[in-house]
C-alpha cells in the first residue's frame, strides 16, 4: 500500500509519521508542499507541527499551499486523507471536515496520554478494530473543537464523529476533556468518511518503549482495511 506524507514549512511530525507508516508496511513518500502533483497513493497524511509557524489561524496558510489543491481533489474523488494535529487544523481550514479548532480551554499547550473512544467503525479508518477504547497521545495548543449547533446536529446525524476523549473505561465527561472540545470530540470525518481529522497522535504510540502501543493497533488495522 502506498502512502504520502505532506511536508509543509514548519511541519515537525512528518518524520514520525513516515517512521510509523513504514514500520507497519506502507510504502511511504514524502511530498513537498510546493509540489503540484501527488504521487500515486492509497493514503495521504497531513502531519502535525506548526505549519508557517501557526502565526495566523493554525493551518490557514498551509491550507492554501500548492499541493492542497491536489489533496482536495484526491479527497473529493474518494481517496483516503488523514490529518493529525496540525494536519487536522489544515483539513478544517481547507473545508474538508466541518468545524474549527480553538485554543485549548485552559490556554496551555498540553502534552500527555489520553484515552479515546471509537464510536463509528463503518469507515476505512476504524473498520474491524477490535478495541473500543484506545490510548493515544496529544500534544497541542489549539485542539478545542467547536462548531455551531446546526453543524453539530448535521455531524451527529451523519455519524461524523470519529473519536471522543474518554476515561480508560470509555466514559466521556467534562472532567477528562483535556481541551474543552464540544462533546469531547477528538476527531471527525467528512460526510463520506474518507477524510479523517484528529488531534491525537497515533504515530507516537507505536512501540512499548514509547508512550504506549495502541498506535500500532491503529496502523495495522488501517493497513489491513486498505489492502
Amino acid at each position: 500500500m502506498k502512502s504520502s506524507v505532506i511536508t509543509f514549512p514548519g511541519s515537525n511530525c512528518d518524520r514520525d509519521m513516515d517512521v510509523a507508516l513504514t514500520k507497519f508496511g506502507f510504502k511511504n513518500k514524502m511530498v513537498w508542499h510546493n509540489d503540484q502533483e501527488l504521487p500515486k497513493s492509497d493514503l495521504i497524511v497531513l502531519p502535525g507541527g506548526f505549519s508557517y509557524g501557526d502565526y495566523l489561524r493554525c493551518g490557514s496558510m498551509a491550507s492554501k499551499s500548492k499541493i492542497m489543491l491536489s489533496v482536495i481533489n484526491f479527497a473529493k474523488s474518494g481517496g483516503l486523507v488523514m490529518g493529525i494535529c496540525n494536519g487536522f487544523q489544515i483539513l478544517v481550514e481547507a473545508g474538508l471536515v466541518p468545524g474549527v479548532l480553538l485554543r485549548n480551554k485552559y490556554l496551555q499547550f498540553i502534552c500527555k496520554n489520553v484515552h479515546v473512544k471509537v464510536d463509528n467503525k463503518e469507515n476505512s479508518f476504524f473498520k474491524n478494530l477490535d478495541k473500543k477504547v484506545l490510548e493515544f497521545h496529544i500534544a497541542h495548543n489549539e485542539g478545542n473543537y467547536f462548531c455551531t449547533k446546526d453543524q453539530l446536529k448535521e455531524i451527529e446525524d451523519n455519524n461524523q464523529i470519529a473519536i471522543y476523549y474518554c476515561d480508560q473505561n470509555g466514559n466521556t465527561n467534562d472532567q477528562i476533556n483535556p481541551n474543552g472540545s464540544i462533546k469531547n470530540i477528538a476527531g471527525i470525518f467528512n460526510k463520506e468518511k474518507n477524510v479523517l481529522g484528529m488531534m491525537p497522535h497515533p504515530e507516537r504510540m507505536i512501540d512499548e518503549s514509547l508512550s504506549g502501543e495502541d498506535g500500532s493497533i491503529f496502523f495495522k488495522n488501517l493497513l489491513n482495511n486498505i489492502k
Binding site: P9, G10, N12, C13, R15, D16, V19, A20, G48, G49, F50, Y52, G53, D54, Y55, Q108, F109, I110, C111, K112, H137, A139, N141, H201, E203, R204, I206, D207, S209, L210, S211
Partner: protein
C-alpha cells in the same frame, strides 16, 4: 558622533578599558568601533572575570571530540556517532520579558547545536524563581514556561527533563538556563574557524532589526529599579524561521560547501564575524549595505549590534554561492553575500562606500581585558547543634506531607505537560524521572540527560556545593542505567566585582573541577552569567550542571517506579544523618545555617559504578537516587510512580528515625531487586565495599513505616501533585 570617555562608560566600559582601546588602536575609536568593542569586551562575551579560573576546569577525556571554546561541546558516542551539547543562560532577558526571554534562550542554544551540523534531539532546562510569596513569581513562572514551550514545541524538539526551584534570592533575578543535545556523524561536524582568502561570507536567516541592541551589555550589568526601560534590549523569537533555518542549514551541510559557520547570538554580527576571523587568523571585510534589514535607515552601529534572532554567518567555498542560495530560497530565507575573508587580520566594515570601522581582530579577542579579581575564601560553617528532643516531637507523616508538597520537591507536571516531550518518537523516559532518555534514532543506543543545581549547598559552602552538583547529575544518569560521559555547565553568580561573589564562583569552579576529574566526567561546554543581582542583592551561587550519559542497549534502561510486590528495596551508600542544609532543616526546623552534606568522591564513584554493574547484570528492577528530602522522600516518589506501597523496616543502627529518613547524605541510591537475587547482589556490593541496608519490601498501595504510621499511595500522590497546580490557578 565624537567618542569620548563618557560615551564609553555609557557603553558599560570602564575608564581604563577605554584608555586601553585608544592605545591599541593608536587613535580614538568612532562610534561604530566603540560599539563593537563594548560588545566584545563585556563580561558576557569576553569572560574577562572568569577566564582565568575556567582554565582550571577538567575538560579532557577519551570521549571528548570538542571541549569548551566552540559553539558547543562534542563527545563520541561510538559507531561513528557524536553528541553535541551545551547549556546557556538567558537570565536577564527572562526577568525583563519572561516569554521572549525564555523563548530566545531556547532558540539560541538550539542554534549553537545545529551550527555544528547536529540535529537537535532533546532540550532540557533549569529554571529558578523567587519566593512563591513574591508578587512577581507566578507571572514569571507562567511566562517562562510558555516561552520555553512556545519555542521548543514549534521546533519539534522534545523537552525531556528539567529542574525548577524557588528561593528568595531569585526574587529580583530569576534564572533561565536552557540546554540542547544534538546528534551528528563524527565526520560531519562543522566548526567556526574560517580558512582561505577571498572566500565569500554569507548571511542567512531572518532580517536584521533594531531588537536586542546591547543585549549582551545588558546581560553584563546588574538590575536597578529602571529595568522596565530595558525591555527593548530583549530579542523577539521566531521559532518558525528557526525551524526553516535548521532544515536549510542541515541540507547545505550535507554537501561540501561550508568552510565555517557561526550563529549570530549575543552581540550578533559583531561577535560571529570576529570569532570566525579570529579562529582562522584572518581578516574579514563586510559591506553593511548588503545585510538584509527589516527596518529602514539602520546605521552601521545598529546593524553590528543588533541581536535579531535566527541568523547565521557562513564562510563558503568559492563558487558554491548558487548551490547555497538555491537551498535557502527553497526554505524562503534571506541569503546575501555580504563580504569576504581577507589577509589583513582586521575587521573592515563599509557602508555607503565609506569605511566605517577598521579594527585589528586580535585587539578585540586576545587583547580583551582579563581580570584576576579579588575573591574571598569561605570557611566550612560549624555544624548546628540541633536539639534532638525536637525530633521526638515531629510526626513522620506530617513532616513527609510538608516536604512532598513543598515547592522544590513537589511534582512539576504542570510545567512539563506544557512542553512537547514526545515529538521525534524516541523519548523513552519522560520528564519526572531521574534523567530524560531519548533513543538514538534507528539504533539500540539511547542518550540520558539531566540538569541539576543545588544553590543552598553552594551558598553554605561553595567548594562542597560545586562537587555535589556534579555528583548529583552523575547519580541521576546512573539511576537510569546510563554511563555518565561528560557535562556542560552554566555558572550563575552575582557580581564578580564583589569579593564574596567572586569567591563563590572560584570555589564552586574548583569543586566542579575536582569532581569532574575524579569521576572522569569532563566539562565540554558552558557559559558564565555574572551580575545576577538587583539593587545589590545577589542570588545564591547557582552553578547548573547538565550531565550526559550513554545507554548501549535502550531496553536496559531503568526507571524509578516500583515494579513488583514482594521485591526488596535496598539503600546503597551510608546514611550518617546529615541534617544541616537539608529540606528538613530549612522548612521544618527553620534552621538555615550549617555545612552542606559532605561529598566523598571515592564513594560516589564506587557506588555509582557498582550500581551500573548490577544494572548491566539485570538485577535492578527500579532505582532512584536519594537527594532533597532524604530517603523517605525518594521512596515516596518510587511508590507514587509505581502505584505500589512499601513496608519499611526499622533502621538497624542507632540513629534517630527522623535523621535516618530525612538526612541528605550524599552518594546514595534506592534499588529494587527480586528477593531471589539478594544473595548475589549482596555479594557484589560486599566485594566492592559498597555499604547497603535493606530498608523494606514492596506491598500493595500503602506505605507502612510502623504500626502507627501508615499512608496510602493516593495520599502521597495528592501531597506531591497538588501544590503547583493549585498555586498556578
Amino acid at each position: 558622533m565624537l567618542v569620548n570617555e563618557k560615551i564609553a562608560i555609557e557603553h558599560g566600559l570602564k575608564s581604563d578599558e577605554y584608555k586601553k582601546i585608544c592605545k591599541l588602536l593608536k587613535r580614538t575609536p568612532n562610534i561604530t568601533e566603540l560599539g563593537i568593542f563594548s560588545a566584545m569586551w563585556n563580561e558576557h562575551c569576553s569572560y574577562k572575570s572568569s577566564r582565568i579560573h575556567l582554565k582550571k576546569l577538567h575538560t579532557k577525556g577519551k570521549k571528548v571530540i570538542q571541549g569548551p571554546g566552540e559553539n558547543a561541546g562534542v563527545i563520541d558516542i561510538e559507531d561513528g556517532d557524536a553528541l553535541v551539547f551545551k547549556i546557556e543562560s538567558h537570565n536577564h532577558p527572562s526577568f525583563i520579558e519572561p516569554y521572549q526571554g525564555a523563548a530566545t534562550g531556547v532558540g539560541g542554544i538550539m542554534r549553537d547545536v545545529f551550527t555544528m551540523g547536529a540535529r537537535p534531539i532533546a532540550n532540557l532546562n533549569s529554571i529558578h524563581f523567587g519566593s512563591t510569596q513574591h508578587k512577581k513569581t507566578k507571572n514569571l513562572l507562567r511566562g517562562v514556561v510558555h516561552g520555553i514551550g512556545g519555542y521548543g514545541n514549534c521546533m519539534g524538539v522534545p523537552t525531556i527533563a528539567g529542574q525548577t526551584s524557588f528561593d528568595r534570592s531569585y526574587n529580583g533575578n530569576i534564572l533561565v538556563n536552557a540546554m540542547t543535545l544534538g546528534l551528528v556523524k563524527k565526520d560531519k561536524i562543522f566548526y567556526s574557524k574560517a580558512a582561505g582568502l577571498n572566500k565569500p561570507v554569507i548571511y542567512v536567516g531572518s532580517k536584521t532589526g533594531r531588537d536586542g541592541i546591547h543585549g549582551a551589555s545588558m546581560a553584563s550589568a546588574s538590575f536597578d529599579e529602571k529595568i522596565e526601560e530595558k525591555k527593548p534590549t530583549v530579542q523577539v523569537g521566531d521559532p518558525f524561521t528557526e525551524k526553516l533555518l535548521l532544515e536549510a542549514c542541515l541540507e547545505l551541510m550535507s554537501g561540501d560547501s561550508i568552510i565555517a559557520i557561526q550563529d549570530m547570538g549575543a552581540a550578533g554580527l559583531t561577535s560571529s564575524s570576529i570569532e570566525m576571523a579570529s579562529k582562522g587568523n584572518l581578516g574579514i571585510e563586510i559591506n553593511l549595505n548588503k545585510v538584509p534589514c527589516r527596518e529602514t535607515k539602520m546605521t552601521p552601529y545598529e546593524i553590528m549590534l543588533s541581536e535579531s534572532q535566527e541568523r547565521m554567518l557562513i564562510v563558503l567555498e568559492s563558487g558554491k554561492e548558487e548551490i547555497a542560495k538555491k537551498i535557502f530560497d527553497k526554505w524562503n530565507l534571506d541569503f546575501a553575500v555580504i563580504g569576504k575573508t581577507t589577509n589583513t587580520k582586521n575587521i573592515e566594515l563599509f557602508f555607503d562606500n565609506e569605511q566605517v570601522a577598521n579594527i585589528p581582530v586580535n585587539t578585540l579577542v586576545e587583547n580583551s581585558p582579563m581580570y584576576d579579581r579579588k575573591w574571598k575564601k569561605s570557611k566550612l560553617p560549624k555544624k548546628n547543634k540541633i536539639n534532638k528532643t525536637i525530633f521526638k516531637s515531629l510526626k513522620i507523616k506530617d513532616t513527609l506531607k510538608k516536604i512532598l508538597s513543598s515547592p522544590n520537591v513537589c511534582s512539576k507536571e504542570w510545567i512539563w505537560q506544557q512542553y512537547d516531550h514526545t515529538v521525534m518518537g524516541d523519548t523513552i523516559q519522560k520528564p519526572g524521572g531521574d534523567s530524560g532518555v531519548v533513543r538514538v534514532h534507528k539504533t539500540d543506543k539511547a542518550i540520558a540527560a539531566t540538569v541539576d543545581s543545588s544553590a543552598t549547598y553552594c551558598w553554605a559552602h561553595p567548594l562542597t556545593g560545586g562537587k555535589q552538583v556534579v555528583c548529583e547529575t552523575w547519580r541521576n544518569l546512573i539511576s537510569v542505567g546510563a554511563k555518565p560521559i561528560a557535562v556542560t555547565n552554566c555558572l550563575n553568580f552575582g557580581s564578580p566585582e564583589k569579593e564574596e561573589n567572586m569567591g563563590e564562583f572560584v570555589e564552586c569552579v574548583q569543586g566542579i573541577s575536582e569532581a569532574c576529574k575524579y569521576l572522569d566526567y569532563p566539562v565540554v561546554s558552558g557559559n558564565v552569567s555574572f551580575y545576577n543581582e538587583t539593587k545589590d542583592i545577589g542570588i545564591k551561587p547557582t552553578p547548573t550542571i547538565g550531565g550526559v550519559g550513554l545507554i548501549k542497549d535502550y531496553k536496559k534502561m531503568i526507571t524509578m517506579d516500583f515494579k513488583e510486590i514482594d521485591n526488596i528495596i535496598l539503600v546503597i551508600g551510608k546514611t550518617e544523618g546529615h541534617i544541616d542544609q537539608s529540606l528538613l532543616s530549612r522548612i521544618i526546623l527553620n534552621e538555615n545555617n550549617g555545612p552542606p552534606p559532605e561529598v566523598n568522591l571515592f564513594n560516589e564513584k564506587n557506588n555509582g559504578l557498582t550500581l551500573l554493574n548490577l544494572i548491566e547484570k539485570n538485577f535492578i528492577k527500579s532505582a532512584h537516587d536519594v537527594s532533597l528530602g532524604g530517603i523517605i522522600t525518594a521512596i515516596s516518589k518510587m511508590c507514587i510512580k509505581g502505584n505500589k506501597g512499601i513496608q519499611i523496616k526499622k533502621p538497624k543502627f542507632l540513629i534517630n528515625e527522623v535523621e535516618y529518613f530525612f538526612a541528605e547524605d550524599q552518594g546514595r541510591y534506592l534499588i529494587e531487586i527480586n528477593p531471589k537475587d539478594l544473595k548475589e547482589v549482596s555479594k557484589i556490593l560486599d566485594k566492592n565495599s559498597v555499604h547497603y541496608d535493606e530498608i523494606g519490601k514492596i506491598i500493595d498501595k500503602e506505605m507502612i513505616i510502623d504500626q502507627k504510621t501508615k499512608l496510602t499511595i493516593d495520599e502521597l500522590k495528592s501531597y506531591n501533585t497538588n501544590w503547583l497546580k493549585s498555586y498556578m490557578v
